[in-house]
Subunit: 198 residues, 2 copies
């Protein structure tokens, strides 16, 4: 196999790229040797060297503990629990949260054989005791697995006396009611708020 | 900027990947350090080292002349002219052609300021004289630019006495007539063939 086929084969394993788009991406790279191919090869090699999971929260970073855990200006008394690093990044982009995080590494799933021991739940329990956490915000998917995990965590964390909250359900900003599913509409209606409130 | 951001920024430049899917691809890579991240970094570095354009036909390969040009079993008297290496690969995958290729590197485009000198047309003329080529098959896009380029080449190559042909237009295999554009239908009707013929 030539280097060309090898690059295509590996690119095709990335999410969002199939065999066809992997070929296109590879050609794109080969035509931009200096501006893209070499820089990408180097960035990947360096990230393989330096990027690792934070031992405390599970975030990916080049330092451990990660920048968020090490940031003294953040409110460590509130921890937002997410399934995956991608969710952590999404919440960080929103700029609406200044506490800490805890990455579970997935959701409970009987079907896929993921039990509590496969997730980073015990490290979370330990953090709550150690760090004097006041509130756990569950930012999990509104799928069956996500909600099962949320209920499990609420039960598991109950005895520790920490407040356990979840994200609000409702109409997405910029969303048209007409395109919204009935479940979300019903949830938004049930959780309606007075207009004066922010 | 951390290595994480750098990888995302570079991946987002690939065709088919936006900022969102680049983040997803980067996370996917970081979680598969041994099986994907390191192999891809190495494959890219090696391809940057070894992949280059064939001096004869313009194909990308790790050897120059490329494997196709160097293959004595192929019929060098027929040359298939394509816009891009991706088109060459597509024809090779069809397995229906055993001649040589010539990659133009684009199409004539007044709008984008691409004239004959920007394309590898003179090298093609030189090859025809040097290699005793009998037939030039134009496999160019059926866009305005592609067809303009085809007509230009037919005129330019006429004096050399070489036969200039183009791919047939017609109904794609597996295509439903109902979904076909009128232009293709009209072309397929005009070029209709007796049923006995293959």
């Amino acid at each position: 196999m030539t280097e060309i086929d090898r690059v295509i084969q590996l690119l095709a394993k990335l999410p969002g790229l199939g065999p066809r788009s992997a070929r296109r991406a590879a050609l794109f790279l080969f035509k931009r040797r200096e501006s893209l191919l070499l820089p990408l090869a180097q960035a990947l090699a360096e990230s393989a060297e330096r990027v690792r999971a934070c031992g405390n929260c599970g975030n990916l970073d080049t330092v451990d503990p990660c920048e968020i855990c090490a940031d003294g200006r953040r409110d460590g008394r509130r921890i937002c629990v997410v399934e995956d690093v991608a969710d952590l990044w999404a919440i960080e982009r929103s700029g609406a949260f200044s506490g800490g995080y805890h990455v579970l590494g997935g959701t409970l799933s009987a079907l896929e054989g993921v039990g509590p021991d496969e997730l980073r739940i015990e490290p979370l329990v330990a953090r709550i005791a150690r760090e004097g956490v006041a509130e756990i915000i569950l930012a999990l998917s509104t799928t069956v697995e996500g909600q099962t995990t949320a209920h499990y965590l609420a039960d598991r964390l109950g005895p520790s006396g920490v407040a356990v909250t979840r994200l609000a359900h409702g109409v997405p900003m910029g969303g048209e009611l007409d395109y919204l599913d009935e479940g979300t509409l019903a949830a938004a209606l049930a959780a309606r708020r007075p207009m004066q409130e922010r």
